[in-house]
Symmetry: T
Subunit: 148 residues, 12 copies
Amino acid sequence: MSRIAVINGPNLNMLGRREPGIYGSGSLEDIQRALSGRFQGRAELGFHQSNSEGELVSLIQTLAGAADGILLNAGAYTHTSVAIRDALLAVDIPFVEVHLSNVHAREQFRHGSLMADLAVGVVAGFGAASYELGLEGLLGYLGGRESP
Amino acid sequence: MSRIAVINGPNLNMLGRREPGIYGSGSLEDIQRALSGRFQGRAELGFHQSNSEGELVSLIQTLAGAADGILLNAGAYTHTSVAIRDALLAVDIPFVEVHLSNVHAREQFRHGSLMADLAVGVVAGFGAASYELGLEGLLGYLGGRESP
Amino acid sequence: MSRIAVINGPNLNMLGRREPGIYGSGSLEDIQRALSGRFQGRAELGFHQSNSEGELVSLIQTLAGAADGILLNAGAYTHTSVAIRDALLAVDIPFVEVHLSNVHAREQFRHGSLMADLAVGVVAGFGAASYELGLEGLLGYLGGRESP
Amino acid sequence: MSRIAVINGPNLNMLGRREPGIYGSGSLEDIQRALSGRFQGRAELGFHQSNSEGELVSLIQTLAGAADGILLNAGAYTHTSVAIRDALLAVDIPFVEVHLSNVHAREQFRHGSLMADLAVGVVAGFGAASYELGLEGLLGYLGGRESP
Amino acid sequence: MSRIAVINGPNLNMLGRREPGIYGSGSLEDIQRALSGRFQGRAELGFHQSNSEGELVSLIQTLAGAADGILLNAGAYTHTSVAIRDALLAVDIPFVEVHLSNVHAREQFRHGSLMADLAVGVVAGFGAASYELGLEGLLGYLGGRESP
Amino acid sequence: MSRIAVINGPNLNMLGRREPGIYGSGSLEDIQRALSGRFQGRAELGFHQSNSEGELVSLIQTLAGAADGILLNAGAYTHTSVAIRDALLAVDIPFVEVHLSNVHAREQFRHGSLMADLAVGVVAGFGAASYELGLEGLLGYLGGRESP
Amino acid sequence: MSRIAVINGPNLNMLGRREPGIYGSGSLEDIQRALSGRFQGRAELGFHQSNSEGELVSLIQTLAGAADGILLNAGAYTHTSVAIRDALLAVDIPFVEVHLSNVHAREQFRHGSLMADLAVGVVAGFGAASYELGLEGLLGYLGGRESP
Amino acid sequence: MSRIAVINGPNLNMLGRREPGIYGSGSLEDIQRALSGRFQGRAELGFHQSNSEGELVSLIQTLAGAADGILLNAGAYTHTSVAIRDALLAVDIPFVEVHLSNVHAREQFRHGSLMADLAVGVVAGFGAASYELGLEGLLGYLGGRESP
Amino acid sequence: MSRIAVINGPNLNMLGRREPGIYGSGSLEDIQRALSGRFQGRAELGFHQSNSEGELVSLIQTLAGAADGILLNAGAYTHTSVAIRDALLAVDIPFVEVHLSNVHAREQFRHGSLMADLAVGVVAGFGAASYELGLEGLLGYLGGRESP
Amino acid sequence: MSRIAVINGPNLNMLGRREPGIYGSGSLEDIQRALSGRFQGRAELGFHQSNSEGELVSLIQTLAGAADGILLNAGAYTHTSVAIRDALLAVDIPFVEVHLSNVHAREQFRHGSLMADLAVGVVAGFGAASYELGLEGLLGYLGGRESP
Amino acid sequence: MSRIAVINGPNLNMLGRREPGIYGSGSLEDIQRALSGRFQGRAELGFHQSNSEGELVSLIQTLAGAADGILLNAGAYTHTSVAIRDALLAVDIPFVEVHLSNVHAREQFRHGSLMADLAVGVVAGFGAASYELGLEGLLGYLGGRESP
Amino acid sequence: MSRIAVINGPNLNMLGRREPGIYGSGSLEDIQRALSGRFQGRAELGFHQSNSEGELVSLIQTLAGAADGILLNAGAYTHTSVAIRDALLAVDIPFVEVHLSNVHAREQFRHGSLMADLAVGVVAGFGAASYELGLEGLLGYLGGRESP
């Protein structure tokens, strides 16, 4: 059973209370609970959230040898953090990048990602379902499904 | 049961024979067969492929009133076609953009999309699984799952 | 009596059904009927529409010696087609570029035109009336009215 | 009967003497006389010309409540004046932007307009006829013709 | 008692009538009356407004030796006038730049200022209060309050 | 009485010791003492400073329901932090952006702000007085003074 | 004997009638006849021309296994078509890019090529002779001549 | 004897009082007196200065047929005025562009000129002597000296 | 004896385990041990590492008066942190910037540095030896060796 | 018989020893010998090579009246030398630009040419054969073959 | 009597034979003879020309202590040579930059100068007279005329 | 014992006499003498300097097989010479790039290097010591010290 770290970046602890028109009304706990339910028996999930770039870097470092895959929503740091990119390079664990909202339909500075080119794949725009779809994709990849 | 048009753009009829290192070794028929199997009873799927921008525009126009959602891999036209964008705007049918490969890890001119901002969501990088994940996301959206 | 080809590009066959807030509720047939009525006896009008860039190129080629002027709404291809520009250069027939909407008030990628610098003139923003004004201007030009 | 202010910016008082290869050999008075003749009984025209950006700003301000539409050829200020844009925003009178020459076929710095996105529409390239076509379009708009 | 010239650029004479959603419903006279009241006995205020870049340049030139500070809302010329910048450099009088609206939340071409780098400071976004806050800041600066 | 959080970003704890030519010789405590004195009875002030982007994000999150306004000097993070922008969006509390120095007169990379477009207003360049002016502006805004 | 597909893009069917100052007065048939004559016995030539991007894509796809080399003048699509690039990548047949005119001496938008980096080599500016030189180069390459 | 209009733009009436480190301590009258003395009997000089772009445009228009050459220091309008460029084009009088300071050694926005490409030549950096050198050059040009 | 703070930014604690092809197989402890050995008696070394931008800012602040020089490898923050730049400006301690890899040979976003212009010098590309060379250079600078 | 100068720029004397993967294993002498053999009796060839931009400029100057055509591989100076461009303009001798490698498939700074727009034509990518093809094209051009 | 080095860069030895429409029909010797005649007794002139950037650098170096001023037409190297800039900085001799043609009216890459910001002044566009005017300006500067 | 060529580009022969505030007061001979002393017995040093790009290219070519490493200060050519880059590629000898001054603290056009990405490493800003540090690094690299 794959060990998966589900990592959320800054402000994702505010889900449900933050701009519900963009991010939906469910909380991060709701998302995590749904993931746990759906993937029970298929993946061992660990949940993490931090508002601090440095903590996220440190967290990712600790995953070397401890996780088989990462489901990553780096939030705002997606667009600004070379340090998180470097941490992902350092541990070299397959990861999938997910976003709740369709970042392509938002401000210009949310279009670029400093880590997407390293990812197995990217899922964006499906709200909480982005996590589920992203995790499906990650498990398929880890399970040896021919990757493109 | 949702009526879904699965639309593939230029060169996707070459799948399996085309740069397998990037696109995988399965054919488009394999992908379509897998989709039909997995979503049997949940969606009525229509499959389309064309190398011609104009035919894709015309095809999308005919879907008004005839499809509830579109699963779209516009291939190279993703990056160059304002006309396909306009057709999507004209019919106003919810669609999901999918890519086999992780476009963010490829040439600079494949990073931008002229239609992603109109999509419900985007799924890229999971090979044939991108279609399955994208269709799951589309059906969830059509089924009223709270969208972000 | 001048022979005028009225050429419409992609998605203009959707007029009336397509984003009426931007393009108005009249159909392309309405526009063509109004043009025929207003210019009866002053111009011999031929109407064309295609969603295909290649067909538009081929169509323009056939006009050499067969049309005295072109009234052109190339739609989305206005912004992306060097091939249509080349066809217009090849046949060297005076043409007027028209747009239903005020393209300057829309997305950045609709501000540039790959053919406007070759046109006699440009008319944009008056809805269906753009065609009538453009045709008036074109006939005036062909009739020897001093051009600027 | 609509009250229309016809406003000309810098150097348009030189028409006929100024670069006739680009701007034609008729004078501004010729244009104004032709407009008066053609639109007699359909519009009440007031003619204005100034070389001064500030005077044009002040002039536009005085039109609030005194004009139903503006036919504007801001000349060189089209490309540089945020102040005229602000004046147009301040009085909120529908206006049409006209140009004698096809600005798209001239220097790069004449391609952009700081006010076209606020206009009902734009007409360029037909010489003196640009004014007539523009005024037709403006009156059609004011007369309730469905605008795109 | 400091002699302060309060200078307003183009279209600020339209305050109250001009885009009230952006600029508020008070008139320029209201602002000037409020300033006079609040700063009575603390500053000798002179009020100026012009729509003409040239007049603003000439006005600033006359202030040499006649004013101790300038409270400047150059309006649209903030973004385009090298000449006003040069006039400010020529007289070398401390000035504060004020804006009614938050220019950072508006069009891209309102983000840059050709004079802000010469100012003591900038105040933007507080409506009529921007003038009061700016004048407070200017008087503090002139009164020797340690400036950063 | 409005509850106001006064938030200072990285290096502002060094005030007085840090580049006094640019930032003045007063300490952050001096600024805070002056603010407390001047606004006693008009606002309930809470003072915060952190060098960490993540802590600032977390701090802003805790203000939801606990503060009526924020006086924010995000220091260097003004120019680089999408995460703080997102936190401000999440809590949706009116805030004023202040800077000690005139950022427009400094390096190019200090001209842009990733949060100013969300602010009520901006005050920059008056040294310690920027805080007082900014707080005046914020209280005026909260007190219902018509905002532009 | 090498099987070579000679592929011409949009408007090349107009050769001889189209801008002879730029493209020469010979027709495409003249070029093809000259090629057939010169390379008789050395190469088996197949000639193709289409104005449609999609047809060119489809045509290239059919060449897999059926041609040993491609002599390609994609005309205007050279500068705009990612889809033709993808088709060339898909079939992976060595090709030479030829242009009649010296594209470097023409408009800026003709300087870039979306496929030249995939080509064996490029020949431009020699009119009809560009085809002959390009085919010599291609046959040399296919014949094992050491390639750089 | 050539009739020469010496035209000075905004803030040049401040010479001697304005940034003497950059512009020297002589006044505009000093420059004009020196020019009159040196060129007595060789040229008929007319002196003009205005801070207003519009007045400069109108002034240049009046020179048609009344001046053989223009010595132009357009000051700040050098960098921003398309209208003065258009006036120079309209009257088509040979002119020389002069600058007191070396504009290449100053701010980036003073490096470009909207009129230098139309000039006979440009002289910059010699202080008051720029006028004398420029006038020498202009008279040489008008006198038939072979121009490059 | 100079007191030197050796500061390492994010992910440098992963040395030896992180992309050994780029960063070498030695650990950060190895580097520190080698430095201690080589510079024993010549410098008093303090070693620091943090993944957090804020902690690095705070750390640098504490060095005021406590260190004579800094040997800084800010890692990914080299390219993104204005806050660390500001901290270095605040304490005004001479520092040398070092990199293990040749950043010029890597991704474009690693070519710029937000702090190199403030450094005594820069050493990059020598692996662990970059630290030794950088420290030699720093000690030479502190020892009064004529600096360029 | 045409007199042709074959000019090679910097580092081409290293052919065969320099990056054989890119430039092939033949030496410059090999290329020259092959050219001499193939074109014996058709052209009088003079061979030149220099690493110095100035020498190449001087060499080209001496060809005025002494050569009928130039076959030019300016190597690295292709991308940086305005002086060689000017020399080519000065002597006005028809020339063909050749490159061994396909410059479009290499670094970005090798894509532009400062002289290609002046050339009769360009041949790139065929290794040593580029010279032969280029010389064929040049001789055809000099021999009066209709040029495009 | 001032010692002046008159330095000409690449291709200026071709004057009279090179593009006479741009550079005039006089030779460099003609220019030098005219300068010698006009400035006899006022300046001691030394004439230099080289096509080689390196020789020009070396030449300028030898002028330290041997020339009081430089009249420099660096030709094409004006736009590309940082090395000549550095040589001018190294010897720190006042120089004037001259150009025969109006570089502002030519190609974009001739608009920038890598040395003009270091010059006393610039004279361009007067053909051979540019040298005379430039030398007048240089002598005036060396003679103590107040420089701007 | 490694054979090292120490190569200096344009103007470095002026060291000590050239802008001592930037480059220090020592001469190039001083630097070379110091290097010889410090590295006696560890490296066989050959010293070269040229102001000519072409000579530097030729010099580097002669080092193939004759030097084990290069210590390169290409001076101004660092930023402009593709030819020197190509020579370094051609001989494929490990080299270290050194600069006396901190190029990052100087003009924008000195920030880029056309050869740094090929270097073992870069050392900048330590004055004459940059050479010593660079040579240490180069010898370490040649001596097999694990390179990063």
